[in-house]
């Protein structure tokens, strides 16, 4: 039954693929290679390596982990800084009043606009890319953490006061869990932003990574390679989001349960 339902949801995918295949074969346009050509090129580029390395090629091993690594480092940094700052701002009306204008300005800056600055400051390399990712994706985390920490139920706070919870107990057992649903919403949004900024930063300031490969393929008029890299990025984004949802479902199971019943 579940299988049938999954099938019912997914039937459009092969239909679109077949239609695309037929259309591109008929058009014979070099800019729009048929999916089979793209898949063959992808296989050659990434997955034609030796079996003991899980069929990954040198190019795959060199570029995919590098890119994903930068993405994660940037995302983790943004998470830590965003949550700490956000919770501080959420719990202190005074701090929030002073810093809010700065935050509103900061988040209004389109992240790619900072690339020339970061290129000048850090030159090409991982450092510049991580700074680009972190500074670009921190805002949803920071704002959501602030909002979550600000709107802790008054009675939950009074309960903590009555039962004499210390400041740190109050933070870790009441404020943070209460803000967690909002924080996760921010984390998820920023994870997808992180992928975008990872590609952008690799397109302008990198000598490796998936984004660099994309640029490299384009420079050598390897259109199936361009398409193949785009597909890999799409798959990567899909996998990251799915993994995040699994984690979120585990951490926030109480939230779904509590919302179902009240």
């Amino acid at each position: 039954m579940r299988f049938l339902r999954a099938l019912g949801r997914l039937w459009l995918v092969p239909v679109v693929l077949v239609a695309w295949e037929v259309a591109t074969r008929a058009a014979e346009d070099v800019f729009f290679p048929p999916p089979t050509t793209i898949v063959a090129r992808m296989h050659e580029m990434w997955f034609s390596g030796p079996a003991e390395r899980l069929w990954l090629t040198d190019a795959a091993l060199e570029n995919i982990p590098t890119s994903v690594g930068r993405l994660f480092v940037g995302w983790l940094l943004a998470s830590v800084i965003g949550i700490v700052l956000g919770v501080m701002l959420g719990r202190s009306a005074l701090l929030s009043r002073f810093i809010d204008p700065l935050i509103q300005f900061g988040r209004a800056i389109p992240p790619p606009a900072l690339l020339p600055l970061f290129l000048a400051l850090f030159s090409i390399g991982a450092q510049m890319q991580i700074v680009t990712i972190t500074s670009g994706i921190i805002w949803p985390i920071l704002l959501n953490a602030g909002d979550g920490a600000r709107h802790v139920d008054r009675q939950h706070l009074e309960t903590s006061t009555v039962f004499g919870l210390s400041r740190s107990q109050r933070l870790f057992w009441v404020i943070l869990p209460s803000a967690m649903p909002k924080i996760f919403a921010g984390l998820r949004l920023s994870l997808s932003l992180a992928l975008i900024l990872m590609v952008i930063s690799e397109l302008v300031g990198s000598v490796n990574g998936i984004g660099f490969q994309l640029l490299d393929a384009q420079r050598s008029y390897d259109l199936p390679g361009v398409w193949g890299t785009i597909v890999v990025l799409g798959v990567l984004g899909y996998l990251l989001n799915s993994a995040f949802l699994v984690a979120e479902r585990r951490v926030l199971s109480w939230h779904r349960g509590a919302n179902r019943t009240t």
């Binding site: 139920d153 009675q155 006061t161 009555v162 209460s178 109480w254």
Partner: protein, 260 residues
């Protein structure tokens, strides 16, 4: 053990100010179960919040065990009316009960043991691993009573604790309150707007006037124990007291029993 003298509280200022408490005087002895009853919106909760140190009254003093209350006293627990917003939905029932025990310097096994024991006392043995939202309203309120019991306070404040549950559950919880207080050496202050409940549960019923609240009646309840939902409620003394409290709540002061 609890002494309240000339307590006043005003919300806001100027012509829009709301005078909630108009000079409340009350003394509660160690081990008493005092019910405070009054019309809706009369400042009962304001009184409770002042005792709990959650609110700074604009005038008068509250002393608990000889010490003036400025912040929440250490040996005080509160059972709030709205259990769903007082229990933490992200923690299991056992953790909810055990959390306040951390400050008492109890290690993890002892905290667990105390939580298990308190949950047994309220008839929720084996519910430690559940989450509050998996329980019915009445059971959730039992959990918050268990949390207060495990904390072993000298004074337990209950703010309309049975106001959000159905009638049958309400009676069960009233009996539970009577049962646990006979096991613990605890002073209980229970706020309610239910006249029957105040007489059934209390050793003493203190009646507040409508806002700005003052004490308009203070009646001793001498009903034979153990109390029972059926027989106690048909006892002539119960019927008489209920009528008296009812008159006081409605502001009819002509009853001779009212002045005390």
């Amino acid at each position: 053990m609890l002494e309240i003298s000339n307590l006043t509280h005003v919300y806001g200022s100027g012509p829009g100010a709301h005078h909630a408490l108009g000079g409340v005087d009350l003394k509660v002895a160690q081990g008493e179960l005092v019910c405070i009853v009054g019309p809706s919106g009369c400042g009962k909760s304001t009184l409770l919040r002042s005792i709990a140190g959650l609110l700074h009254p604009t005038g008068g003093t509250v002393t608990l065990g000889g010490k003036p209350v400025e912040r929440t006293p250490d040996d005080l627990a509160v059972v709030f009316q709205d259990y769903s917003r007082s229990l933490f939905p992200w923690m299991s029932v056992g953790d909810n009960v055990a959390l306040p025990l951390r400050r008492k310097g109890m290690d993890r096994p002892r905290r667990r043991e105390a939580a298990t024991e308190a949950l047994e006392q309220v008839g929720l043995a084996g519910a430690e691993g559940k989450y509050p939202w998996q329980l019915s309203g009445g059971m959730q309120q039992r959990v918050s009573i268990a949390r207060a019991l495990a904390y072993r306070p000298a004074l337990m404040l209950m703010d309309e604790p049975f106001g959000s549950v159905d009638a049958q559950t309400r009676e069960d919880l009233e009996d539970l309150t009577l049962r646990v207080r006979s096991h613990h050496d605890m002073t209980i202050l229970l706020i309610t707007h239910d006249i029957d409940e105040s007489v059934y549960v209390g050793d003493r019923v203190v009646v507040l006037s409508k806002a700005p609240a003052t004490v308009v009646g203070d009646l001793r309840v001498d009903l034979p124990g153990p109390r029972d939902q059926i027989t106690t409620r048909e006892n002539p003394e119960f019927v008489h007291l209920r009528a008296e409290v009812g008159r006081l709540v409605r502001g009819m002061r002509d009853d001779p029993g009212a002045a005390s």
